[in-house]
Symmetry: C2
Subunit: 154 residues, 2 copies
DNA sequence: TATGAAAACGATTAACT
DNA sequence: AGTTAATCGTTTTCATA
């Protein structure tokens, strides 16, 4: 991945529909050359996907919660099923396993508080290793996205 | 937004490049009808963007941190500039203002620990209202994305 | 007002230099 | 990597329900 690839990716991360010819004009390449680089980066897995981003509010998901989930580290055999549970749960948008007391951090979308409560009850009921969780409500979303900064040099 | 719109969005949230004709085959509409609905949803702001998702590791951003930032609520005049600072900082990928003791939650990408430390030092140096912060390192990323579940009924 | 069919247009892909 | 030609997808047009 060279400097031009990075510039192409910086553009595509904001607008995946930008025509190769326009990108080429910005980076000083023909449309075909740009297109070839894009195809290559898809194949190499640098570009993981091209997706539509929709407004959660318009989709009836007005609430965002940041949930810290503490699990019992003594029962590692239950971790795989918890991971699967998280993967299968569409309202859990993002999840990380983090340093600390066996903690997971979840980004959860919900229609309302009842919707969220129901999800959390299922989380606890379905996963015996969940010891407790702490919820923080997002009062405002300052920034969202998957945008990765790319050093334009080198 | 009707049931078919929701089905179209569910598809586009996974693959924004899917041809309208293929989507039409799934939802029982012609390519033109699907295309018109997509254009309408872009105009209405339901579809916020169509973006390429890239692998942060391949982009040299191997570390993800979840940072809780505590700010002094007594100085609300400094909040606007903190928000701008966050917006302008490319390594801060996501940010929410959350319930609790004047807390922000940040998702931060970094090349390495030094890179991260430098960012946090700038955060504190540039924003006098930042009282303290707590960092958790993402040991594994279980789930990422902007995918919003859409009730296929109604 | 929304659709499907078909023409016109534009972008991507493939072949060749 | 660039240029051209062929292919494919989108957009527009138009007739219809």
């Amino acid at each position: 991945m060279d400097k031009i690839d990075r510039r192409i990716l910086t553009i595509l991360q904001k607008d995946a529909r930008r025509a190769a010819e326009l990108i080429g004009a910005e980076v000083g390449l023909s449309a075909s050359a740009v297109q070839r680089r894009i195809v290559r980066m898809r194949e190499e897995g640098i570009i993981l996907a091209e997706v539509a981003v929709i407004d959660p509010k318009r989709a009836g998901k007005a609430l965002t919660m940041i949930v810290d989930v503490e699990v019992e580290r003594e029962r590692p055999e239950l971790l795989a099923s918890l991971k699967q549970w998280i993967a299968a749960e569409p309202c859990i948008q993002e999840a990380w396993y983090v340093t600390g007391a066996g903690d997971y951090v979840l980004i959860v979308l919900a229609r309302d508080v009842e919707d969220f409560e129901a999800l959390m009850q299922r989380l606890v009921a379905d996963n015996a290793n969940v010891r407790r969780f702490q919820t923080r409500v997002a009062l405002s979303t300052l920034k969202r996205g998957m945008w990765v900064p790319l050093d334009p040099s080198s």
